[in-house]
Structure formats: C-alpha cells, structure tokens
C-alpha cells in the first residue's frame, strides 16, 4: 500500500528533506491535497488534472523560495480567479551559518545561532581548536582552511544563509572573505576592531577583491551596535545584525519608531 500523504510529509520533515503540501482550504474538494518534495514525485490530487498541473508548478516554486501562503485559482487552475483557495505549506531545511575561527566568541555564537534556528558549522584550520568537544552545540566542526572549505560547500549557500568570519587573522580571513563573496550567501560579516577592519580592507584590495562587492556585502566590524562586551552579548549583536540584514531594516528600538512591527 502506498504511504499516505501525511506519512510522506512526516518522513520528509523528520529527514530534513524539503517538502511542500498544497491543500484546498476554500472551494470544491475541501481538504484535497498534493504533495511534492525532494525524493517525492507529486502525489495526491486536488480533483482536477488542470488544477493539479498549475498548482504543482506553483508549489515547486514556493518550495524553492521556502515560502508558505495562500494562492487563488479558478476551478481548472485559471489565474486571476478565486473559486479555489489553496494553502501551500513549504518545509525548507534550516538555514546554514558557517562560522570561521574556533575562538572564544565562537561557542557563544554557535549557541545563539542554534536558538535562532540555524544549522551551524564551525571551521578552523587549527585542529587543536576545532574540536567537537569545544563546540558541542555545533552541527559540524571542520578542520580546514576557511577558503578551501568554502570552495567545497559554497555553491550550496543561498540568501537565507550566513558566513561569520571570527578568525581576526588576515592570513585566514582575507581569502575566506574573497571566497564568501564568490557565493550567493545572504549575510557576510567579519569580526575585528576598527583598525583591524581597515587593515583588512587594504589587504582585500591588494589581493584583488572586488571592492564594490566588499562594501556592499561585508559587515565589518560584525554585529549591531548594542554596546555589549561578553561573548554571549556579542553573539546576540551578530545574530541581530543577520536578522536585520535579511529583513532590510535599519535597527532601532521599536519604542523609538512608529509603523508596523513585522
């Protein structure tokens, strides 16, 4: 007997595989469903072959963007009609944060990033520091040069992902930043004092980095200006900046602004 749609959904979510479910929430065949995902050819039907075809196409698109929401169609999938409302629910695996540098701040950043929902990788070329024992909360600890690791995994990074360079050692972070700029990663930040950051910019220019890209994409010194000091406070300032970069907000206190909260 084939698995039920719920079983397919449950297994995909448990295995962290992308999956999307389309359900009729208004119109004929209330509750009818289509499921599609990584490793799942579409299954189920909304009760009309044309509607199935159009909704399947849209569901695949919503899944790629990790979006969930309602779409309206005519009875056979016509655009600009609203006989049928369909809720498309996407389950996308968690976004990825790559942290370069196994330093004091790293452990705190791993913890806060996990709370926010990231899958976290710590990478450092020094094997005495890059150990699972020091970063028990990380999903993965990799001993490698940051830029070499990025060459391996960079094509999997997208707008939802983040690269945080905490090495504050030019010999590691200049090639790491260059390699990160070659990816589509949504957030790129690097730690260091104002002086370190200025020196780093000079070295990036000397190394032939595209300085327009650097000024458009690199957040350095990393983090929002919260005035904290401890590794934990710094980790919150970094994650807060990652969120603000994603939403495109200039961060101030909500009590100092007016307008919509979300």
């Amino acid at each position: 007997m084939p698995d039920s749609i719920y079983e397919l959904w449950r297994e995909a979510v448990n295995d962290h595989r992308p999956v999307a479910l389309a359900t009729i929430i208004e119109g004929e065949n209330l509750g009818a469903k289509l499921i599609v995902g990584d490793g799942i050819d579409s299954q189920g039907t909304l009760g009309d072959l044309d509607l199935d075809r159009v909704v399947l196409r849209d569901t695949i698109g919503e899944l790629a963007g990790g979006r969930s929401g309602i779409r309206h169609y005519g009875p056979h999938g016509e655009a600009r009609e609203d006989a049928v409302s369909i809720f498309i629910e996407s389950f996308a695996p968690p976004p990825h944060m790559l942290i370069f540098g196994a330093v004091d701040f790293t452990g705190a950043l791993v913890k806060v990033a996990k709370v926010v929902g990231y899958r976290v990788t710590v990478c450092d070329a020094r094997e005495v520091f890059a150990t699972k024992r020091r970063f028990p909360n990380a999903d993965e600890v990799v001993v490698d040069w940051p830029h070499r690791h990025l060459e391996k995994v960079g094509d999997r990074l997208g707008q939802r992902d983040a690269v945080c360079v905490l090495t504050h050692d030019h010999k590691f972070d200049v090639p790491a930043i260059q390699a990160a700029l070659a990816t589509d990663v949504g957030y790129l930040g690097a730690m260091g004092s104002r002086r370190t950051c200025e020196e780093r910019l000079e070295r990036l220019a000397q190394a032939g980095a595209d300085m327009e890209q650097v000024s458009a994409r690199l957040h350095a010194p990393i983090g929002l200006d919260l005035g904290g000091r401890t590794p934990e406070e710094t980790a919150i300032a970094i994650c807060a900046e990652v969120i603000a970069a994603r939403t495109g907000r200039v961060s101030s206190s909500l009590s100092d602004t007016t307008g919509s909260i979300h």
């Binding site: 719920y6 509750g31 969930s68 809720f87 996407s90 389950f91 979300h262």
Partner: protein, 100 residues
C-alpha cells in the same frame, strides 16, 4: 509529530489546525500548526497562547462532525469573533481531521 504518532497508535482521532494567513501582527507565521487529539490533548501552538483554548474546542467539534473548515480569530471590525489576539492581529486557521 511524536505526540501525533502516539495518539494515532492508541486509536485516537487527531485534528490538525494550521495557520494559513495572518493580517497585521501575529506571533506565528503561516505553516505554524497545532494538533489536537480527541481526548483533548494538545501539541504545538498557533499563536502566543491567545487563541489555543478556542482552537481546541473548534478542533474537537470538527473531529465529531468530520467537517473541515477555515476559522478566523482576531480583533477585527466584526464583533462575531469572541476570541482576540493581544497583539492586535487576525489569524486564519484551517482545521481538519488528520484523515489523509
């Protein structure tokens, strides 16, 4: 999901309530879901705790009639909504029996 598995293994019917739309401010995004067993046990949440009680009674009603439906909660112009969200938003839930 572990709770859902356990309830179903014990032969209990389960209803699933999913946030499908939000207007204004709302604590949970579309896709947030809550499961209700016919015993009244609950897993997950669909708001910051503002409407969960009302969702349980809707879900139990839907389990007994088998009729899935869209339900709206929130402070809106319509006074028919008895249960409000403290954040001032409106949420639309689709509640259905887990029979698929």
């Amino acid at each position: 999901m572990d709770d859902i598995d356990r309830w179903r293994r014990s032969g209990h019917k389960v209803a699933l309530a999913r946030v499908v739309d939000i207007e204004g401010s709302g604590p949970r995004l579309p896709g947030a879901s809550m499961a209700v067993a016919e015993t009244g046990e609950v897993a997950g949440s669909v708001s910051g705790g503002c409407v969960e009680g009302a969702v349980v009674s809707e879900a139990l009603d839907i389990l007994s009639t088998g009729e899935r439906r869209l339900v709206t909660f929130g402070y809106s112009d319509d006074e028919a909504f008895a249960v409000g969200l403290t954040c001032g938003g409106t949420i639309h839930l689709f509640i259905e029996p887990l029979d698929w």
